[in-house]
Amino acid sequence: MLLLDIKCEKYSLPNGLEVILHKNNSFPLVAVNLWYKVGSAQEEKGKTGLAHLFEHMMFQGSEHVPKEMHFKLIQEAGGTLNGSTSFDRTNYFEKLPSNELELALWLESDRMGFLLNSLDQDKLDNQKNVVYNERLERYDNQPYGLAWEILISNLYPEGHPYSWSTIGYLNDIKNYNLEDVKNFFRKYYSPNNASLVVAGDFDLNTAKNLIAKYFESIQSNSKVKHISTAEGKLKSSKKITHHDNVQLERLYLAWHTVRAFQEDDSSLDILSDILAGSKNSRLYKKLVFELEIAQDIYAMQFSGRYAGHFMIVATAKPGKSLEQINNAIEAEIESIINNGITKRELQKSKNGIKSSFIYSLQNLDTLADHLNLYNFYFGKPNSFMFDLERYNSINENDVEHAAAKYLKANCVELSIVPKGKNGS
């Protein structure tokens, strides 16, 4: 599909920084998207949450940019900006009117090359409080908010890079000192551990010159050593019950699967859609629509650089038991394994995936982030067509096979139940 052939020019600066340029002059906007190849997976036990806390510190100003000015300058220019941290990477991005490309490059290069001298204890203490509140707001004070953390810490063995959540544990967040933060920067925030995407409305030569001007003189550290993939399968199934301030019981099921872009990854994506991706999907239809034992249900294949897992999550209707729900889910999985899926179900999923690829091109931020994602995994930013083909090439057998191979193995079964009630 021609539309998904997102033409890019890719090269590296002498210091190792990868540069990816995608020009599209249809709208007067430019997106700058920078990936540092470090996420919470690189953290150690007792030091969780550092990658994310560090992301906050990157917005606290750098040697030539006073605190608060990073946000202010971009917003004054009519742009939007943010950053995010996942298991595998940390990204920073801004989208601006195209006549402000240089502003974004100046700001990004200043915090890549000149952050350390501007860090101080006050800034760190302040952002530790902010992150503490972020954790409270998004996890501890949310219904079912601790489920993810409980789930992954049981699914992955102790010490596995995905066994703690990106936000980190409260005690770890509280204990960070300035030296931890500075060491993290020295170790991971180096041009040879990053890739820079510029996408949108710009002139190629101008952009190349500006990138050289701002980034070339930044020194790289020694090459970052990446952790080796930690294996770890469940030796037996686990059942866990957690009491929370909720009205309705909720069931979380998780199975080990495969890493991102590995064989079966796309079959599992399609399986999740056929199970729970729409009103007429297998599980939604049976549990929510027909039996009305669940209020909601969803399924997903989560996959990253070091591991992957498949999850099914269902909230029980009042008075309905998680056991009933679990049995009904099991029966639907069995039915897929034994009786297969229909041509139409498969085609429906493929149609939805194809459309969402095209819808995703609307937003320049999303596009730029995808270029970095593909570069991260394959070294080839223009991999949209390759990625779509991963789905188009799947047949009915692949989906049935994936269900049989992964969803019959050992699993973690987490029940979140209202306080004062016994687990089912």
Binding site: P28, S98, E102, F114, N129, N133, L136, N245, S355
Partner: protein, 455 residues
């Protein structure tokens, strides 16, 4: 190469941005349509905006408009509920029905190649929904369960309680869009059918289509598809505005909460051309973005919160100003004090520098509002919902840039009124009360959320 890092780089040449071309047309059946030209991708988007939000719910039937919106796509034309949704999905279309306090929007996004087929499905939803008893009962049970579930969510409790106490129970905006369970118990399928019959008519509907259409063709297509749509009334509503309320603190207990959700605000003037732009600039400075006074104070200085924002909320028939945040329980008083301080301080005026920042930010961001198909559609939809002037987008920039600092300061002194603010605090009641006893407020009410709508 010489690099000057100590100075912000200069801005390049002025960008070229032109508004998407659009025409407004009245269909023969009475509905208005905006056709907006967007050609960068093979995508089409259409919104049907029905003037039928929850403010029209009859007393004792709170939740009726939302339930109608939930039932309308549970089977239509030749297709039952599951078949209908399956057909949309098979086309890779995104179809949704969403109801708020003023309107119901049916929106559809598809690849251009599937637009006609998907539009046929959408028209059957609007013209011939089944409203079968079993579908109705299932959707009703789903809503009732959802209402129970929402009681787990502290931000939802704070928002809905704030709106209830702010508007007062004589005002339809006081009640949640989703409804209340006592009222839902009494809603029957005949109510839903009646509500649909009254409100879903061409006189009460506007359409926004964004894509690479041949205008004439799309218009005649919609004309013929909707030619038998039965005419009806355009609905409107008015309530008294400008009411003054006594200041008040409401504390709502949330078991084991580790944060307090804070809402502070008051009623405000309905949206109007006289002060809209001044208020947008003012709010940007006060709490409308990351480097606002409120966020720099409560987040970047004190570390009380992950984020704080303020806004003027414009409903069609009323408006209010509010500040929202959540803070760790121990800082409830500190945060409340700081918010009130900032509200008091902004009444004394803003600086020229702040105004220049706000003007620059809003005006230079303007093109970004038209980047995606859904953003473009929602901008034109809001033009309809708020009945904005035909040249609203064309004159937007000059109206922002022409605002004077005196205008903003006058509006600040008049429109930000901390002395009559309603404060809602949702969290650990005991720990909150220990702190706010030292605040001098005329009334502190401890409220049980389960009972606010009864009585």
């Amino acid at each position: 190469m010489e690099v000057r890092r100590d100075k912000r780089p200069a801005t390049g040449n002025e960008i070229k941005f032109s508004l998407p071309g659009h025409i407004k047309h009245s269909l023969k059946n009475g509905a208005e349509i905006y056709l907006v030209k967007k050609t960068d991708l093979p995508i089409a988007r259409i919104n049907f905006i029905i003037n039928s939000g929850s403010k029209f719910d009859p007393k004792s039937k709170y939740g009726l408009s939302n339930l109608t919106a939930m039932c309308i796509d549970e089977g239509a034309g030749e297709l039952d509920a599951l078949q209908l949704s399956d057909e949309f999905d098979y086309l890779g279309a995104h179809f949704s029905v969403h109801s708020d306090s003023d309107i119901t929007i049916l929106s559809l996004q598809t690849l251009s190649e599937n637009f006609n087929t998907a539009l046929n499905l959408l028209s059957s939803v609007i013209l011939s929904p089944h409203f079968k008893e079993n579908d109705f009962l299932r959707e009703k049970r789903k809503v009732q369960t959802r209402i129970e579930q929402l009681k787990d969510e502290p931000d939802y409790i704070a928002n809905s309680a704030f709106e209830f106490f702010l508007f007062g129970k004589q005002n339809p905006y006081a009640f949640p869009v989703i409804g209340i369970n006592d009222a839902l118990n009494g809603i029957e399928i005949s109510d839903v059918k009646e509500f649909y019959k009254s409100f879903f008519n061409p006189q009460n509907t506007s359409i926004v289509a964004v894509g690479n259409f041949e205008d004439e063709k799309l218009i005649s297509r919609i004309e013929s598809t909707f030619q038998d749509w039965i005419k009806g009334n355009n609905f409107s509503m008015e309530f008294p505005t400008g009411r003054k309320k006594d200041p008040k603190i409401c504390v709502i207990h949330k078991q084991d909460a580790v944060q307090t959700e804070i809402r502070i605000g008051h009623l405000s003037e309905i949206r109007n051309d006289k002060d809209y732009f001044q208020k947008q600039l003012l709010n940007l400075i006060l709490g409308g973005q990351f480097s606002s006074r409120l966020n720099l104070n409560l987040r970047e200085k004190h570390g009380y919160t992950y984020g704080i924002s303020s806004r003027f909320n414009y409903l069609k028939n009323d408006a209010y100003f509010s500040v929202s945040t959540s803070v760790n329980t121990e800082n409830t008083l500190g945060a409340t004090d700081e918010i009130l301080n900032e509200l008091t301080k902004v009444r004394e005026g803003i600086t020229e520098e702040e105004l220049a920042f706000a003007k620059s930010s809003i005006s230079r961001r303007f093109p970004l509002n038209f980047e995606t198909y859904s953003q473009t559609a929602s901008n034109f939809s809001s033009k309809i919902i708020h009945n904005l002037a035909d040249d609203y987008f064309e004159t937007f920039l000059s109206k922002i840039l022409n605002v004077e600092i005196e205008d903003v300061n006058t509006v600040a002194a008049k429109s930000i009124v901390p002395d009559s603010a309603l404060i809602v605090l949702c969290g650990d009641e005991k720990k909150i009360l220990e702190q706010i006893n030292s605040l001098s407020f005329s009334e502190v009410a401890v409220v049980n959320y389960d009972q606010i709508y009864s009585g």
